[in-house]
Symmetry: C2
Subunit: 539 residues, 2 copies
């Protein structure tokens, strides 16, 4: 027998249409390049997204064609998020913080046909123009009469050219809708192509009460750049639920973020630990400047947060929730919320648990595999490689057959993370495989050391890397940025760690710097540190 | 270009496996036939559901085979909900409150091959044995040595026969998983076959914060019978999220329900208005007997609740939320939660809005079509036929080509409800098409009259039906059940209504009865009332 249910595809055009119908008056707020605040509505966004879809189709966009964006977190980007897929195209937000050569490689590799670019980023286009060509370029945010590069047009003209005489193309839910490149620390960037289905299912999971928990009554702030894994899905989730959406524009400094949190009554957001560290420092430096009335549910991802950070932010009514994912997982894979049976744990253990990567959201399957390829049982002490599968996990990189070894024969994605899974199913990532420190035959976790060091009140940020050692093969070296006015010493930090680590696990050297170098999305750039200290002379 | 995402099917076996892994210790509670309370865990349910799947396969179950259940709301039923689809079968909960002839018709029409039956319902099996035959019958809840009908076996023996040596069949998400028959008030019952996909997507929508809002920290009480549209999806949603699940067994009286709400700290549930009316009466009769600590989010569906009922229950910390759906819509289609822009309305208008059927959950599309087939714009005053479509809406009835006219040429399901959609997108069902009263060329809504009459403090329940009239074609007649000790009169009710209705809309006759007749799922049986009063002599 067969099911009698309708075949009804999960598409972003359906999400867009519902938002336009039900949430017409819901606000969308953005910070402009000049730091002023602009306000619009979902109704206006809906009309403009449809206009974009129509004009792209009339400009010759064919099904599956890529439209690159060089944009920050703004409403034009949101229009591209929905308007391009509604037209049957693939929106490709490009990480504009990468080196121009890498950007040129990415747009060539993706085969981007069209480009939507913010006027402020035109110098970047100039830098890559000899390496990458777009058939059409539309410039957003340029003054009406301002000169544009040869062949480029105003984005507003593109929108204005629509007359409403158009219908959506018929879409299959497996059709491609968006793509992002992940800038691995080794090798060229690799592309992931999301489908309408994968984005819709990811959104359903993200808004669940046990994940981000987003309703139409929330106000959602997008801090993570919209070119980084679809802004962690938050733009989709806000439009899906009708929540008020607030976009940071190009301003990610803690004061800009805190100002929006307070003035827009933000209830849900997400950002990497380095952002939350900066927010904490700003709050502690000016404890009366920002008053957060309702508890802010603030997801932290991209790296494990120190427990001290969770504790510090809770004093200011910011509740950090650790989630884990990757570009390859759309990104939400696991969420660190406390399971019911752990609510009776002592407070310190609750914080410890909440700092783990968490447990799988529905339909995301996770496992840890040992060096021999055997699945490690939950509750084991030996770490192995974390592998995942599910409806919003990549099955390959775009047009990149040489990376097929990132998937197992039975179809799981090898994350490259080293992890354990505890008896309750919480994943705890010990390290990226390449960041583990092998000292005298024993493994040392750089992540554990970093988070412990960042628990010291005198430390702003810390990264620990493996440095070659003549006797022990590798030894940990800590690179530490002190907080303002802190004069903490290597001896004090070593003493501080001795309560939590065995003697052989404690870094032999502490290097003090003014700032830890960061990747384009704000994570610690450990490859650069390893390179910088590879010839370190051990005493 | 193609998406690079994994093809990962949405199946109930995946939901079951996740629950077994992450929610092993979560409680499942049921009320036994003798009214005692039994407790088990998701871990135990998981093992038994797998054992059921294995034993069914070893008993010869083939993909798509139907397994009927004659069961109330209990753990065996829950095992069938997951174990049968995991084995590739189709679980078919049969409405055991129907007439035996209708039940026999249904199991024959569905082609049910196997049956799982509660021992207390064996007399029903005896009544239909000459009209319907099952290849195998398993009896749950029978004492170990108790005599069984010829050919029947103990359900516990079936479970005990499993040895764990089995693997799930490979399932496609469009494979059938469950079926329910809807007992229309005219004609034979019609079957709807749900797929794994439709149930999973419905579950994602149901647990959203703007719908039932179910998390692992909730305690969910299933009041609606599990043979009525999958118990409104609540059993699936609880297993999906890891919420504590509480099952009413065969006891649906208000004291039994209130006892469970209090003793199990229920946070989410759902039931039809007649149940909530009985609960209100019980609470008002003994205001100190039950103390509900945390607000109970109580969905009401199946018919529109009177605003007076919402107000009355809020005094006891029960927050009614109106949702609408049908067997054909899995059931959740719309939800009456207040949209953000309506939160500033005066309280009385908020209650009025919350009594409407509400607005569509994601991917459920709704429209109202006039007699000429044109879609009626939102905010219009003229009602039309409500039509729906979406991934968990039936595209046909099972093996029933003569009902094809219930779907439009462009693929929408015609609900048979007459409705308007207001400017905010809230559906307001005026009536079932056949319940509208045509008086002197004007339409009168029986639903509006019923809810107004039930707003009178002396009224327990009221149903209004059209009765033929020599001059006006039809006139409304109200059938009223007074509350205990109430002596309200027809004249008083007529006077009470005159504040809200035009003179010609007010019923010409009020008949007082001890109880309104109900359908098998507890709705007012208006067909019976129309039949009973069709020869009414108007004064």
């Amino acid at each position: 027998m067969e099911s009698t249910m309708m075949r009804f595809p999960l598409t972003l055009s359906c999400v867009l249409e519902r938002a336009g119908a039900y949430f017409e008056r819901t606000e969308i707020v953005e910070r402009r390049p000049d730091r002023s605040i602009a306000r619009t509505t979902i109704g206006n966004f809906y009309n403009r997204s449809r206009a974009l879809a129509e004009s792209l189709m009339k400009s010759g966009l064919r099904k599956g064609d890529r439209v690159a964006t060089f944009l920050w977190n703004d409403t034009v980007h949101l229009e591209a998020y929905f308007g391009v897929p509604a037209a049957g195209g693939v929106v490709h937000p490009v990480n504009i913080r990468l080196h121009p050569d890498e950007i040129a490689y990415i747009v060539r590799h993706a085969g981007d046909r069209f480009l939507i670019i913010d006027a402020a980023l035109l110098p970047l286009l100039e830098k890559i123009k000899n390496q990458a060509a777009f058939e059409r370029v539309w410039v957003a945010g340029a003054a009406p009469g301002a000169p544009l590069p040869a062949g480029a047009d105003h984005y507003e003209s593109l929108i204005a050219g629509a007359n409403g005489n158009f219908t959506y193309p018929i879409l299959n839910e497996d059709d491609p809708a968006a793509m992002c490149y992940t800038s691995g620390t080794t090798g060229r960037s690799k592309g992931v192509v999301y489908s309408h289905r994968s984005i819709v299912l990811h959104t359903f999971a993200e808004v669940m009460p046990d994940a981000f928990g987003i309703s139409q009554h929330d106000a959602v702030l997008v801090i993570s750049p919209m070119f980084h894994v679809n802004g962690w899905g938050l733009p989709h989730s806000a439009v899906f639920t009708g929540a008020k959406l607030v976009l940071t524009g190009m301003h990610f400094d803690p004061a800009a973020i805190l100002d929006l949190i307070v003035s827009e009554n933000i209830t849900v957001t997400g950002a990497i630990p380095t952002i939350w560290i900066a927010v904490r420092d700003a709050l502690e430096a000016q404890p009366t400047r920002w008053k957060i009335k309702n508890t802010l549910r603030a997801v932290v991802g991209g790296a494990a947060p120190p427990a001290a950070l969770l504790r510090a932010l809770e004093k200011f009514n910011i509740k950090l929730m650790h989630a884990w994912g990757m570009t390859e997982t759309s990104p939400v894979a696991t969420f660190g919320s406390l399971k019911s049976n752990l609510l009776s744990l002592p407070e310190c253990q609750q914080f410890e648990t909440r700092c783990k990567q968490g447990w799988s959201v529905p339909f995301m399957e996770t496992r840890v595999v040992d060096a021999g390829g055997a699945v490690v049982a939950w509750g084991g002490r030996d770490p192995g490689e974390l592998q995942v599968r599910g409806p919003w996990v990549a099955a390959s990189y775009y047009n990149n057959p040489e990376t097929a070894d990132r998937w197992t024969a039975d179809g799981w994605f090898k994350t490259g993370d080293v992890a354990t899974i505890d008896a309750d199913g919480y994943i705890c990532i010990t390290d990226r495989a390449k960041d583990l420190i092998k000292s005298g035959g024993e493994w040392i976790s750089s992540v554990d050391l970093e988070n412990a060091i960042m628990g010291h009140p005198g430390v702003h940020e810390a990264a620990v890397v493996a440095v070659p050692h003549p006797k022990w093969q590798e030894r940990p070296l800590a690179v530490v940025a002190r907080r303002a006015h802190s004069e903490v010493t290597a001896a004090e930090l070593s003493e501080f760690l001795s309560g939590h680590f065995a003697k052989w696990q404690i870094p032999d050297a502490f290097v003090f710097v003014s700032e830890i170098p960061k990747t384009s999305i704000g994570k610690f750039k450990k490859t650069a540190l390893r390179e910088q200290y590879k010839d370190w002379k051990w005493c």
